[in-house]
Amino acid sequence: MFLTPALVIYGAFMAYPLISSLTYSVFDWDGLLRRGFVGLQNFVTVLTRWPYHERFFNALGHNAVFFGLTFLIQTTLGLFVAVLLARKLRGFAFFQASYFLPHTLSLVVVGFLWRMLLNPNWGALPQALRRLGLGDWVQPWLGQSDTALVSVILVNAWAWLGFPILVYVAAIQAIPREFEEAAVVDGAGGWQLFRHVTFPLLLPSLAMVTILTFIWDFNAFELVFVMQGPSGAPAYATDLLATFFYRTAFGDPTTGGEPGQIGIAAAIGVLMLLIIGVASAFGVRFMTRSQTEY
């Protein structure tokens, strides 16, 4: 009786849709009407037939770069900053709060804000560069295919980085002081202390944040939609699995592109689910194995 309302809502609006998207992918669809059973045909289409396979692997590569670069930033810069912050010196609460501030903004606002700030003519960043005599550096970063994806990833990192920092700081502060003191008594310097005491004890938190980052980055949608449009302008250079999925399922209102293809979209969704599922399973295994009781 205590359980029924939760089970009904969770079952009907989360478990059921997730499970039945598996079955959607093995049927032929005419708009929103289901036709015959087609086995793995939709998957074959996504993975081998033009233009789907080209778009799919293009987007998959972008998601991989998205995750890779974000992971690199948060485990180098993010972890470094967290180690500094964990010492609880005066004013550190302010720093921590300010790093997290962008995380509270909607990605719609983040996207538009940076679109304005990066505007080659009137944006704040190009204007600042010009005033510093670095006008040659100014480029239409969001409009060129070789800089657009990295720019979007950096904007995302700006909005996201506060979260990993927060978790790492909490994890470092949870390490009992005696461990560090014992290491120092044994003659360990700053780097050795980090390498042999702090870092191994942080591994579970690192793994957890990495799993969350992976899931999030392989679902990323808003920032590209808002900054680069539903087809990942310029010329699919910032297209992601989620934007590709969105266009395939619901059609592309801006370019009047291909109409909704539910079966094929469902196949893309199942592939995304597989990627995320396999990666998180590996991550969770690593996390539980690196856990230490203390």
Partner: protein, 280 residues
């Protein structure tokens, strides 16, 4: 972490503050710029991008409020986020309580069933969910979002709250039972008030992503009546991108509610979010 020597550590401290300060500029400056720019006229934004506004204007805000129907979107966002939070607490708390304090046959299975959803983003079920909402006639109503948000928040909330309930002492329950209280009474009047910190964490963890969500409103709210702030702003910005003053004012209006709450209670925010993450 301990510094090496006394002389060295003073130097180190300076370096640490410089590094952290520079980073704070990177994170804060764009937001400060957004606030200042919102009070400038469009020509001044182009002429004077960094300084304080020479003449403070609220024209952008007034236009955004009247022409972008910001008031309507604000009401919708408040209503949808608020109802989702209430519905989530009313359903997740009893479920977590039952899973944490009673022993029954299917307990393990049910707990795993809820837990399984923690790692899976509900977005991946969007196609069946969309068709379900359409068949229920909920497209273009706030209920489509409220039900989706409540369902997606369920796994994490049930998990978090069950941890809180499990840590309550057994004697409380036994004493109440001896006094003749029924199971419902024990839960609502004795146990639930004791996990208030847990309820607050659940609200904080969920409300921020709901308030900022763009994906589900984009699909579930095709007409204007129930549009939330992020969707309303995205559509409005897209149409008025040349009017910089208007767009910056709109961005500030859209961000203000959460910014204010965050500045006022960043400590609880940070504590709540790390609790959610570290326990997940």
């Amino acid at each position: 972490m301990l510094g090496a020597g006394a002389g060295q550590s003073a130097w180190r401290r300076v370096v640490v503050y410089v590094v952290l300060g520079l980073l704070a500029v990177v994170f804060l400056f764009p937001i400060v710029l957004m606030v200042l720019t919102a009070f400038k006229t469009t020509p001044e934004i182009f002429r004077n991008p960094f300084g304080l506004p020479q003449e403070w204007t609220t024209q952008g805000f007034r236009t955004a409020w009247s022409r972008a129907s910001f008031g309507l979107y604000l009401r919708n966002s408040l209503l949808i986020t608020g109802s989702s939070a209430v519905l989530l607490l009313l359903t997740a708390a009893p479920a977590a309580y039952a899973l944490a304090r009673y022993t029954f046959r299917l307990r393990g299975v049910l707990f795993l069933f809820f837990l399984a959803g923690i790692m899976i983003p509900i977005r991946l079920g969007i196609l069946p969910l969309y068709i379900l909402m359409r068949d229920l006639g909920l497209i273009d109503t706030p209920f489509a979002l409220i039900l989706t948000y409540t369902a997606s928040g369920m796994p994490m909330s049930v998990f978090l709250l069950s941890v809180f309930f499990r840590n309550l002492p057994r004697e409380l329950e036994d004493a109440a039972r001896i006094d003749g209280a029924g199971e419902q009474g024990i839960f609502w009047r004795i146990m639930l008030p004791l996990v208030r910190p847990g309820l607050a964490t659940v609200v904080i963890v969920n409300v921020v992503p709901w308030w900022n969500d763009f994906f589900f409103p984009l699909l579930f709210l095709p007409s204007k009546t129930w549009r939330t702030i992020p969707l309303g702003m995205q559509i409005f910005f897209g149409q008025h991108l040349i009017d910089w003053s208007l767009v910056f004012s709109g961005m500030l209006l859209a961000s203000l509610p959460l910014l204010i709450i965050y500045v006022l209670m960043s400590r609880q925010f940070i504590a709540g979010l790390t609790a959610g993450a570290v326990k997940g």
